[in-house]
Subunit: 179 residues, 2 copies
Amino acid sequence: MYVSHPSIHPIEAPPLTDTAENALPRGRMEDIQGMPGTLGGLALRFVQFVFAVVSLCVMTTTSDFPSVTTFRYLVAAVSLQSLWSLSLAIADIYALLVKRCFRNSRVVCLFSIGDGITSTLTFAAACASAGITVLIGNDLDDCKENHCTRFETATAMAFLSWFAASPSFLLNFWTLASR
Amino acid sequence: MYVSHPSIHPIEAPPLTDTAENALPRGRMEDIQGMPGTLGGLALRFVQFVFAVVSLCVMTTTSDFPSVTTFRYLVAAVSLQSLWSLSLAIADIYALLVKRCFRNSRVVCLFSIGDGITSTLTFAAACASAGITVLIGNDLDDCKENHCTRFETATAMAFLSWFAASPSFLLNFWTLASR
């Protein structure tokens, strides 16, 4: 009996689905709400911007803030925070309009570094102002001569702006690390 | 002329080596110096601990620190930082002695959260103290009655402790994200 022995055997292809399934979640960045280019990210930027601007306005309406170095620093820090948040909010709106997400590693790195710097500066300013408001209000009990309520409000708003900025930084950093 | 049309064509197997090369660095965690269980990590813990203890000692030797809430908070924060850094330094020494690295995801997560909390508290305390020392030294120019130099030294040491704690947090967070 003659049985053909073909030189070319059909090679069983390794299952591609498994590899693809494993590779895909690593290769592509999932759309976690809060990342740049998502609605959550835009909401975070908006919250950061609003709280930073409110903090800036409340602090600048007090007449004696320039006499304290820390309050001047707070004004500078929340100004920077509001400008940064506004810029990234505009970038997010553009990304949402053209229905694209920021996938470029360099862009995410830039956003991450910028978020890290601005949120650290805002937090530092908020902590320093909190230290001084506590000193004036509790330790020296000197609220009659000072605008304690306004200082406290500006400090609280700066803290809230930092609270909204931290998730942006952590999510960007996470995205950068998990690429 | 008769030409055979085999129903089963030899399928070219996709190169497996490329996938394996891409998969390996993602699967295993590389030993970056500074991660828990490495010599760099132990050095970072040691630096954190030393600066936190120096800050604590300098601040507690001033007689009037309990009158300022922020300075009491600084003492609490650097105490926590020194205890945390000492604990993780002991864990690092153990890991180096048995020549193993911390690879468990939960352990890295715990270290990351702990580092995040302690370093944030230390940074907040350092910023608040810096605000007050600047207020006393520059704005009120009242260094004759206060231990300005000691307050400034304690604040600077707390900042240095935070500087050493940040890489630990960022590296742990990076490790957690890149798993």
